[in-house]
Structures are given as C-alpha cells and as structure tokens.
Amino acid sequence: MRRWPNVVRYFLLFLGALIFLFPFYYMLIGSLQSSPDTSVKGAFPTSGLTLDNYKDINERVDLLGSLVNSGIFTGGVLLGTVVFGTVAGYALARLQWRGRGVLFALVLLVQVIPFQLLLIPLYVLIVRGYGLADNYLGMILPFAINTTAVFVFRQFFLQLPDDLFAAARLDGAGEVRILWSVALPLVRPALLTAVLLTFIGPWNEFLWPFLVTKDADLQPLAVSLANYISNVSARAANPFGAILAGACVLAAPAVALFIAFQRQFISSDIGSGVKG
C-alpha cells in the first residue's frame, strides 16, 4: 500500500524537474545551432552544432568587458556586505547599545519597502545629484549592503552559545576582539551562505544598472545582453542563436556557483534568515 504513492511522487517530481530544466537545455542547444530549428526534432540535434553564435554575439556585445563589469558590480556589493554587514549583524545580535531596537526595526521595514518606490528618487539623487551615471560606484551604491545578508548574519550570531561570550569577556577580551577571534571564525559557513545569496542579486540585476549606465563600456552583461535583445537582434543573421549564446554566458557563472555550493543553500539557513 505504501509503495504506490511513492512511485507516483517520484514520477511527478522527475517530470516537474524535467519541465524546470528543459529551458536550460534548450538554451544551450539553441546557442549551438547555426540556424534555429524549432521543430520538436530540432530540440535533439545530432549534428551541425557550432560555436559561431558565440562569435556573433561577441562581435556585437563585448562579452569579456561586460563580464568584467558584472564582476566589479557584484564584487563591490559582496565586499560591502561582508565587511559592513557582518559587523552590523554582530552588533544587532550580541551587543547592547542605544538605538539597537530602532535599527532592527528599520532592518525589518527595509524588507517591505519595495525598490520601485525608491527607483525615481535614487535615480534623481545618484544620477542627477551626485553625477554618478556611468560609474561603478553609482551602480553599487543602492545594493552596497544586502539587508537579507545582515539578517542571516544576525541569526547566526544569535545562535552561538552565550557561555562562549561570557567566557571570553571574563578572560578580558574586548568586544571587537571577541567578534574577530571568537564569533567570526564560528560563523564561516554562514558567511558562505550570505555571499552566495548576495551574489545572485547584483549578478542578475537588470533594472538599476540599466538606468545608470548608458555607456556600453560600463554595462554589466545583463544590461548589454538586454539591449542587444531589444535593439540590435533584428539585424543579426541568427538573432536567437546569438541571444541564447549570450544568455548561456550570463547564466553559467551563477548556475555553476550554485551547483558547486548547493549544500550551502540548506533550507533552514535561508528560512531562518528570511523569517527572522
């Protein structure tokens, strides 16, 4: 009696997984076909695969330069989040100081303020006010410290046993010393989770860098590929092939990182981070 539901469950899960993965398979196949074959048989080609589409997209979009821009944008956000986010998370979790409650309330509030409300004023301030259009700093600034990551850090610091901190204080260690040599080494796994969570934000972000970068030399890949899709693709020999080749290049780093570190996406970590 118990076997039947199990077979059905696996069948449905694998079917679902195939539906979820198929677009990725099709993206790869489409990027390797010299001309688009949209028949059902065309989804399973046996010959005629080529790398020409990658050459084609690279002639229209500077792939390497765009990847470097994506890397700088993402790296800046990661640096800000790791450096300032960890210490903020620690202060929120482990230290008693005036204003802690207010800051924590703000952290919660920020998660419900949608970005679209800030879009126009941030554009006015950063692009018009500070003149940071076509500038890495202007790209990074709105995302500089990931609030979800601060949350995850706080949760992890809270989970450390109280005795540990009491013992370190008895030994005469200062608060900064305790953070550096007791707490931080213990939350290294959380650091990786937070870094991975933070990575996909700016790497995949489209709207903000699209607004602040008009100079093609500064555009991250998501923006240059999107501009290619909406403006130039009509004139290419095999527009879909070139779009899909660019899509593969954009998707590959995030997917590879995710698969390599999928264990870090342990459900409970992220769940606790989001739920608080």
């Binding site: 210490v87 903020a88 100081w97 303020i113 126009i120 500089a144 900064v176 995710f258």
Partner: protein, 305 residues
C-alpha cells in the same frame, strides 16, 4: 548623584546613555548610514516629490518646485495607461499568487520525503531562481515566438496571434514565467517551515485514521500557515515590482499595453519622458496598494481559525 563614587557614576551614566556596549554603535554605523542614505532619505524624497512639481533641470540651475497638492496623484489615477497597467497586474497576481503558493507547498511536501536523487531534484527546482531574468527571457522568447517550439508542438492549437503578441495571452505567459522563475525560492521557504512541524501531529492523525490527503489538509496546511502568509506577501511584492519581463519578453509592455506594468510606466514616464513627479506619485500609489492587499491577505490567512 552625590552618593555614588564619581567614576562609577560616570560609567553608569554613559551606559545609560549609550548602552552597555557603545562599540556596537560604531560597528553598526556604516549600515545605519547606508539605510539612511539609500532607503530613508529617498523614501522621504519620493513622497515629497509626489506633492510637488518636479522636473529635471540643467545641472547647477536653481529651479522652483512648487507644491501642487494632489495634482500628480490625480494625473496618475486618471491616466488610462496607468489603469491598464494596474488591471494587468491584477491578472498577473490572480494567476501567479495561487499557482506559486500551491505548487511551492505541494512540491516542498513531496521533496521533503524524498530519499533518492534528492540533490538532483532540489537543484532542478532552484536553478531558474538563481539565473538572471535576462538570460531566461532569451529562451522563453525562443520557445514562445510565433514559429517557436511551443507552437510547433501545439500545431493547429497554437493561439493566433502568437503568445507574446496576443493581448489575451501576453500577461498570463508573463505570470507563468515568473511562477517558474521564482518557485524554487518559495519551495525553500516551505521546506524550512516543514522541518518545524512536529511529527507527533502526523502520528496522531494516523491514529485517527487520516489518509495522506487528509493529513496534508488538516496537519500540513495549518502548520505552515505563517509561511503561507509570507509566501503570499513576497509573491505580491515580486508581482508589484514587475519590470524586466514586460520590458523584454513582450517588447515594452506590448501588445497595445496589454502587458505593461506600473513599474514599466514609472520608467517610461519618470525617466524617458522626464516626469519624475508623476512617477513618484505612481510609486506611492503602487506601494499603498501593495500594502493594503498584503494586509488583507495576512488577516485572511493568519486570522482564519
């Protein structure tokens, strides 16, 4: 003040003023400044802008931005394109939110009991979530264009005009796209919630003679109710933020604005056409609308016993 030793008083007074670990203020300061500059100030600025006549001026020029009361709000609310965009978002939410919540919960329950191929199955459902929208939009364009694979599979059943240029289908396709893209994250949330459901509840239900389906409805669903409230609210916020998909998938909210979203209108009016005051008012309306719907949902999901 006069009885205690002066040094101790000073320390106590400092502790009362700054807290026991004033160093916490220094550690949290960069983040606090970031929140003030990137969230609090623009938030206030946005509300201020929505009540004034604001336009882009040449750099350095000092211009007047007179108070105009509710004019921007009136302009936004009477604009037919805005009305259309809100109607589109309602269509999007009606499809996306129930589908996301239902599928995420069912898949999380199924995945939770899985022993074989656990990693493969989980990774498959999460991958769309970690991939850039711009990249996967590329392949959906390829799948759903008039001569694409979906239409060759459907043959004569394919809609005419094709999906993304069909006024009736453009928004539903976007809703399905976003469901597919975001589902992994919501499965993750539910999986976390399922770890906290006490096994005793299921055992009790078994003793009472409940079958699998009854257990799902009478144990699992009520036990993860607070997560359901969260999933619904996050799905609502994602929907209200919709921009990339109508911009790229349906070529700027086409056909005839049938897939335009409020954020797309904010971009077009506020930045392309230089009316940031109109866009700010639209942003405030959008956020208020989202909050009201989120509040009603919360009351409905959490308060129903």
């Amino acid at each position: 003040m006069t009885t205690a030793a002066p040094a101790a008083t000073k320390r106590n007074r400092a502790a009362g003023l700054l807290g026991r670990h004033p160093v916490g203020m220094i550690l949290a300061a960069p983040y606090a400044v970031y929140l003030a500059v990137i969230f609090a100030y623009p938030f206030g600025f946005s509300v201020w802008m929505s009540f004034h006549d604001y336009f882009f001026a040449a750099p350095g020029a000092v211009v007047d931005h007179p108070f105009v009361g509710l004019d921007n709000y009136k302009a936004a609310l009477t604009d037919p394109a805005v009305g259309q965009a809100f109607k589109n978002i309602v269509i999007f939410l009606v499809i996306n939110v129930p589908l996301t919540t239902g599928l995420a919960l069912v898949l999380a329950v199924a995945l939770n009991r899985v022993v074989h191929a656990r990693t493969f199955l989980r990774v498959s459902f999460y991958v769309p979530y970690v991939t850039a929208s711009v990249a996967v939009v590329g392949v959906w364009l390829f799948l759903f264009n008039s001569g694409g694979l979906v239409n060759s599979l459907l043959g004569p059943l394919a809609p005419d005009p094709s999906w993304l240029v069909n006024e009736g289908w453009a928004m539903p396709v976007i809703a399905f796209f976003v469901t597919w893209k975001q589902l992994g994250f919501f499965i993750l949330l539910y999986l976390a919630a399922l770890q906290n459901v006490p096994n005793a509840l299921y055992e009790q239900a078994s003793v009472d003679g409940a079958n699998g389906w009854q257990k799902f409805w009478s144990v699992t669903v009520p036990a993860v109710r607070s997560s359901t409230a969260l999933v619904v609210i996050l799905a609502l916020i994602t929907g209200a933020n919709l921009f990339t998909e109508p911009y790229l998938l349906t070529g700027g909210g086409g056909p005839n604005g049938a897939s335009a979203s409020p954020v797309l209108i904010m971009y077009q009016r506020g930045i392309q056409q230089g009316e940031p005051d109109f866009a700010a008012a639209l942003g405030v309306i959008l956020v208020l609308g989202t909050l009201v719907v989120a509040y009603i949902n919360r009351r409905f999901i959490e308060g129903r016993d």
